[in-house]
């Protein structure tokens, strides 16, 4: 107790350098904790993005590229899948459901996804959770839109609002289709995945907003129509819109091509077989990936970066502890007098040793506490940014056991580093005795 009090008062007497040392440690602790939290949460965000889908099919490209463009909405798929191939493949044996995905349009920088109703029924994320509506319902008409949770909250949209979809990606599109407003009919619950940042519209509407394209497809529409999709319920004519290209409102339409599609099978046994068939499909260069496998590959690729980050933050912690060592050692020379005084009033060398060790523990401990405070401040500030820019949903929860272990490791390292000046002080005090040199 006495030694803790003495160490505290002595440190307070050397506030400036003690505080600097403390902040160095605090910042390094913050850095390490933040990097670790982001890393762990990024990993779970990644692997939670899609589940329950057996295959993702797109134009032939890299596995990871297909995953990124179809699931994470990162990058562009240069080619698409022809509607013919889509129809052919989805008619194969064992296919339980298929979700066509047409990407490439945007609303205020957020992705617009053209899809069918199977999306709301079969898309799964995290531990096979399905999408659910916080308000409203799925789209039933051509110019209806279902918003991801974050789209609604960040843009302040409510049911019944009208949303304009722009052609192309990015905030500033060349032309806004002001004449094609979409009515918000549903808002999804948050998922912590890119779904939150997506506007979902019927596949057919994608063509509708590209007026010119739609006309070109009319010819194709005729022969495509006989495939009539039975999961489409009947559709009233949507007279709100004066476009003429879709008299018969059909949520699928007859697109020329789509970006990618998701497949679910009756049994996982079909997966490898169908995958092989798709990859060897002669009419078109296609690629089918198993999302779980590719997610893992993607994560492994990122894990190098992740390990380097971890290494850097550990080095930063070490540097901060070395800073503490330097400041303790350099203060020791000035403090020989103080230590000799303590010796003269009866402190034994091991008291001196303990005193210096307690000091380094106090600095490290307080540094950790301040570092944790800074870490939470940073998490609170950065959570929104990471969510909207990297799709990583940060978990601002209590410290995990892993993080507590990291802190314990820092404390132990601080203690060990503190043993060096403590040992030195021990020998000083043996050599100096009560004679006060300075």
């Amino acid at each position: 107790m006495l030694l803790i009090k003495l160490a505290t008062k002595s440190l307070l007497n050397r506030k400036a350098s003690a505080l600097l040392t403390l902040f160095t440690i605090a910042i390094s602790v913050m850095l390490l904790m933040s990097i670790e939290r982001v890393r762990v949460d990024a990993k779970s965000s990644f692997s939670n993005t899609i589940s329950g889908t057996d295959l993702i099919v797109g134009a032939r490209t890299g596995d990871i590229q297909l995953l990124l463009s179809s699931v994470f909405r990162i990058g562009h798929a240069n080619n698409g899948v022809s509607w013919k191939s889509y129809q052919y493949i989805t008619e194969q044996r064992g296919v339980k459901w298929a979700i066509p995905m047409s990407l490439g349009d945007s609303h205020k920088g957020l992705a617009v996804l053209g899809t069918n109703k199977d999306y709301f029924e079969h898309y799964r994320f995290a531990k096979k959770q399905s999408l659910s509506f916080s308000q409203g319902h799925e789209f039933n008409h051509l110019f209806e839109v279902v918003l991801g949770a974050e789209v609604a909250s960040s843009l302040g949209y409510q049911l019944g609002d009208e949303v304009v979809i722009a052609h192309g990606m990015g905030n500033t599109s060349f032309h806004n289709h002001d004449d094609n407003p979409f009515k918000v009919v549903g808002i999804l619950n948050p998922t912590g995945t890119p779904v939150d940042k997506t506007l979902h519209i019927p596949l057919a509407a994608i063509e509708a907003i590209h007026g010119g394209h739609a006309h070109q497809h009319e010819a194709v529409q005729a022969d495509a129509n006989d495939h009539d999709h039975d999961h489409d319920h009947d559709h009233d004519h949507d007279h709100d819109h004066d476009h003429d290209q879709h008299d018969d409102v059909d949520l699928i339409g007859t697109p020329k091509q789509i970006t990618a599609f998701l497949l679910g099978f009756d049994s996982p046994l079909y997966t490898l077989q169908v995958r092989r068939n798709i990859n060897q499909y002669k009419d078109e260069a296609l690629l089918a990936i198993m999302p779980g496998v590719t997610l893992r590959e993607l994560w492994e690729m990122l894990s190098i970066v992740e390990k380097i980050l971890l290494l850097f933050s550990i080095v930063v912690v070490l540097i901060s502890l070395l800073g503490m060592l330097t400041s303790l050692l350099s203060s020791l020379n000035q403090r020989r007098r103080e230590l000799a005084i303590l010796r003269s009033v009866g402190a034994r060398p091991w008291h001196i040793f303990t005193l210096i060790s307690v000091e380094s523990l106090l600095i490290t401990g307080l540094g950790c506490i301040v570092g944790i405070a800074l870490f939470y401040a940073l998490m609170l500030l950065g959570a929104d940014y990471l969510q909207s820019h990297a799709g990583i949903s940060l978990n601002i929860a209590l410290l995990s056991s892993y993080e507590l272990m990291l802190l314990a490791a820092i404390m132990v390292a601080g203690f060990i580093v503190g043993l060096i000046p403590a040992t030195r002080a021990y020998f000083y005090s043996l050599a100096d005795g009560m004679s006060i040199k300075i």
Partner: protein, 232 residues
Amino acid sequence: MITLENVLFKWHAKQPEPTINITKLDIDQGEHVFLHGPSGCGKSTLLSLLAGVTVPTQGNIELLGKAINQLSNSKRDRFRADHIGYIFQNFNLLPYLSPIENVTLGCQFSKQRQKNALKNSATIAAEASRLLSALGLNDNLQHQAVAQLSIGQQQRVAAARAFIGSPEIIIADEPTSALDTQNRQAFVKLLFEQASAANSTLIFVSHDETLQTLFTRSISLVELQGGTDATH
């Protein structure tokens, strides 16, 4: 109660003349001894020996009936903490502690002295305050920063630190050299009062021989040193 016999001390083995060469020195319990001598005659070394900080190259030093030169380092440390109060020439107060805390520090490393202190007062802080008041440091000064005290006031704090817990031996190493003549005599008298109250032996070192008359016994270190010097 303090006995030195044939004590020889050399800093290095090859030193031609020993720094300390004392055939015999006896000091009784409760005596107030004035030890004087010019600079460089070995006063500080003798005090180091008496405080058990250094051990003699030859000979015996007995304090309170214990041959401290035969004790281990840690036992000598403990002995010093329990039985010796030391007043330094330059006070050596810890700047980050209040006067009260500086004084209580004097008994916090010794159970024995804590026990002694608690015989006089309810807490060691109260005992520190009592000693400071007895040595003439007002209550309102006792909680101030040490650096704000005058030199005379700091010296009183240093003295109280040596006296707390009533150690049997008080060693004062030129404690008055920073004070003016009038204050010196007053300070020495305060030391006497406290030493008598605790029945402590006081060994007071100074080269200022005007103080000599205040003491019952005076020892010249030059005379004490070596056979030849003593015969002069």
